[in-house]
Symmetry: C2
Subunit: 352 residues, 2 copies
């Protein structure tokens, strides 16, 4: 039977609680749909850093590279600065494995509530496709005249044809699989006058290859406003590393689902492992209490199975989540219920 090798990295905080529930549901799916999961567990986290001075061992990336996918919980803990925790684990994984697509569904699930008035599931159902390796997150920049009145810092945004074209292509290909067949581009070419006009240029060029796909584009400022005022306008929204980052938090927020939203960091060519993680963070305030919502993790597991070619199993998990939410299955506190993390995981595993 088919075997998939998964690197399991619970990380910090509630990641340690959501990942076991994710695995519980993945395991149920594997049994039902007849494939095997070979799990490698890694306890890399801010605790590791506090003990060893590193977020992961020196050959950490090589260890992960043995796997087909990485199933991540959350990274970050008070007392360990972001440039250590994130830049010691999350960012190197995205970059070394050329996970150049960050994909996030923004979907108002039946049975849950959007913070927007009068919006139902039919109004909010789109994807944010984010460039995940270059752009505004660059390692080129520096500081001059430190400590003086003349002090300044710079940081280069870098947009390559290689990097821009491949994320645009992914967005158009994704739109082709969707009923509405539309791609919206996030730009700011009226203010950011070198990189963003280039992005627009490549977007127009790529669109020519997809005559069946409708396109539009908005400056990031008004696009954020439209997410709130007209979430029903969107189908596939594509943006640079920074704009995609912003839109893929704002999208789940308008869908009312930061606690249940999943995300995928994808290397579409499958030359390297891809990584699947919930949108939420390590949530120090509720960590250890077993009350966090595991659905973001479990849904991320479904995205992982889809990436691994187990489409049927992925669909079954998604249907189970939809059914649980719509039909009043166990809910954690963030959704107004009383259930514990494991109650939700068990219910979903059974449903699958």
């Amino acid at each position: 039977s088919r075997t998939h090798r998964i690197a399991v990295v619970p990380g910090d905080g509630i990641g340690k609680e959501t990942v076991p529930e994710g695995l519980r549901v993945l395991d149920a799916a594997a049994r039902r749909f007849g494939f095997d999961l070979k799990l490698d567990h890694y306890d890399w986290s801010c605790e590791t850093y506090q003990k060893t001075g590193r977020m992961m061992p020196e050959d950490g990336l090589e260890q992960l590279a043995q796997n087909d996918s990485i199933f991540l919980g959350a990274v970050g803990w008070p007392g360990v600065p972001d440039h250590i925790s994130l830049w010691g684990l999350l960012i190197p994984i995205r970059r070394s494995f050329d996970q150049y697509i960050s994909l996030r569904p923004c979907k108002l699930m039946p049975g849950t509530k959007s913070p927007l008035a009068n919006r139902g599931p039919a109004d909010i159902d789109f994807y944010v496709v984010r460039e995940n390796t270059e752009g505004e997150y660059s390692s080129s920049g520096g500081r001059m005249f430190p400590g003086t009145e003349r002090e300044f810092v710079t940081q280069d945004s870098v947009f390559t044809r290689h990097g821009v074209d491949r994320v645009l292509k992914y967005a158009f290909e994704l739109a082709q699989t969707r009923p509405r067949k539309k791609v919206t581009s996030a730009t700011k070419s009226n203010g950011i006058t070198f990189t963003m006009p280039y992005w627009d240029e490549r977007f127009a060029e790529m669109a020519k290859n997809y005559p069946g796909i409708a396109t539009d584009q908005f400056h990031i400022d008004i696009l954020c406003a439209h997410f709130v005022q007209h979430p029903d306008w969107f189908d596939v929204v594509v943006g640079s590393n920074l704009f995609g980052d912003i839109l893929s938090d704002l999208g789940p927020a308008v869908a009312g689902s930061i606690g249940i939203a999943p995300s995928a960091n994808i290397n579409p060519e499958k030359k390297h492992p891809s990584m699947f993680e919930p949108v939420h963070g390590s949530a120090p305030d509720i960590a250890g209490k077993h009350i966090c919502n595991p659905i973001g993790q479990i849904w991320s597991g479904a995205m992982m199975l889809e990436h691994l070619g187990e489409k049927e199993a992925a669909d079954a998990i998604l249907r189970a989540i939809e059914k649980l939410l719509a039909e009043g299955g166990p809910r954690t506190r963030d959704l107004g219920g009383q259930a514990g993390t494991a109650d939700v995981g068990r219910a979903l595993a059974e449903a699958v």
Copy 2:
């Protein structure tokens, strides 16, 4: 009596309809509160460009410099690219006159509706303070290997101590005048690792001078989400040129007021004229129909009077706007009414 010299630039589209209403209300305020307005009218616009090849004459900035303030409608029209219209008029004014603060109130007005469920005027009442001259809107960058597979573009973000400190200071000073006395900083130091940590550093440093002001900071992605989920958390929000741009469209959007929101581009030292303009654009779709909402323009006029030291007159205009909205005075279509642009202007002029 006191005289203020105002440069009036209606610009494009509905700017030509909102500015006369703004002037009508300013005129009423001048008569009531006993000051004079000396108006200089400039018809600079995209039409000017189409006739003369320039958005404004070569000595345009010198002409404007004779005035105490600039009262602007909207800039931009289909067929004239942004890099001509905006970079030929709006941006040079902001930069040459060192209007380093962009200030935008985000306020849910009584009698109007937020797109958020269950939110009333008490929940949404904050200011976005945006750095308006440097940061991500830089003129440093370029393209290499054009037209080849190796092509790339770069754009430097530039944050100077001078530029960062003065906008932070302004935000803290503003917070001191507000009942809640809180400043929230927009950052992204976990991803943008040169400029944003510097911003954080200066923010922490500036905060030391204001022990009575509460502070917090969020990464821009989750901050946008919080605008939707918890608009009641905010009092004064300060951000870089790009982050401030995004937040000052998203803020009015969650307050349901893009049509009525004002903005100020301020040179606090009054060495140069400041500029006051509504948040909305030239709205080609409804231009010429006399149905657009003039409140954004009129409210911008109130901000202008406040800047010119006419605080009482500014308050009177703001109260008139609040009263008209709360008590079912004439409303334009965007607010669900049937009134024309001038009906609203006349009602407000009378009320003042």
